[in-house]
């Protein structure tokens, strides 16, 4: 990432303005053309520095009220297969392997968002059936203290 890319990320990370030419101010400030700004964003996306460029949704405000972190205790030798199966569920938005700790035996984490808790529970139970992983729990979020996304 060069200094200009970094400036572009900093200038857009809290949201572009909702105007006809949302990249004009940034371009002027950085001494670039609007086309150059857009092209750099496109390249950062292509290179994977940006996962996507688009809207972050206030999911609670539109009624997607339930959000469950499902934690799974998966035998080491099955993590690769199970992780792939879990990731293939469209309801699963995130799937990570994380280390076990002496006081914490759950090693796979999936996020499930849906309209109701019951929906999330059903998704988790379908995942459990198709992976054979029986030791799992759902942690529902009861309060959101912060959600800014990754910032520079």
């Amino acid at each position: 990432m060069d200094a200009i890319d970094e400036q572009i990320l900093k200038a857009t990370q809290d949201g572009i303005p909702l105007t006809g030419s949302p990249f004009r101010d940034i371009a002027n400030r950085l001494g670039l053309s609007e086309e150059e700004v857009v092209e750099r964003i496109r390249l950062m996306k292509e290179k994977g520095m940006i996962r996507r460029f688009g809207a972050s949704i206030g999911h609670r405000d539109i009624g997607i009220l339930a959000n469950a972190m499902c934690i799974w205790n998966v035998p080491e030798e099955r993590v690769e297969d199970v992780g792939r199966i879990m990731a293939s569920f469209p309801e699963v938005t995130h799937c990570y392997e994380r280390p076990r700790r002496p006081e914490w035996e759950y090693n796979l984490f999936t996020m499930v968002h849906s309209y109701t808790r019951e929906d999330c529970e059903q998704v988790a139970s379908r995942i459990s059936e198709s992976t054979g992983v029986k030791d799992y729990r759902l942690l529902f979020s009861e309060r959101e203290f912060k959600k800014t996304g990754v910032r520079l």
Binding site: L18, G20, P22, R52, A55, G63, Y96, E97, R143, V150
Partner: protein, 151 residues
Amino acid sequence: MIYLDDTDKNILNIIQHDFPLDIHPFQKLGKELGISEEEIIGRLKRLHDEGAIRKIGPVINRKRIGGSSTLVAVNVPGDRIDEVAAYIDEYPEVSHNYLRPDKYNVWFTLSASREERINEILMELNQKTGLKFINLPTVRLFKIGVKFNIK
């Protein structure tokens, strides 16, 4: 709860992953949907003001631009939740922070340009709160692709 008509839902589903990268993105979006740029912007302003859209911008891949991120769990006594959550939220490196009652009840994600910075923050939080923070960095990433299918 925010009222969404079919056009709003359409717009929200498109602009999560297929936002047009163009110097006039809203004009282009309008063309795709057969409505004017003014109407698109008007609708987006309402959706933003009412909270359906938090922002339109980049979702940064911390690992790819250099740095690391982790999930942290901590068990906070019920009467200290607001105090401890405020200490955590203070750090710009904290990107998400939720109350999820379980063995550990406060869960947050941290990302920084250096791994030492993550350890430093966890040490500071431990000193400020006296609580034990469980660091659960990513071992393997199988999926990250938040997309809300708005019905």
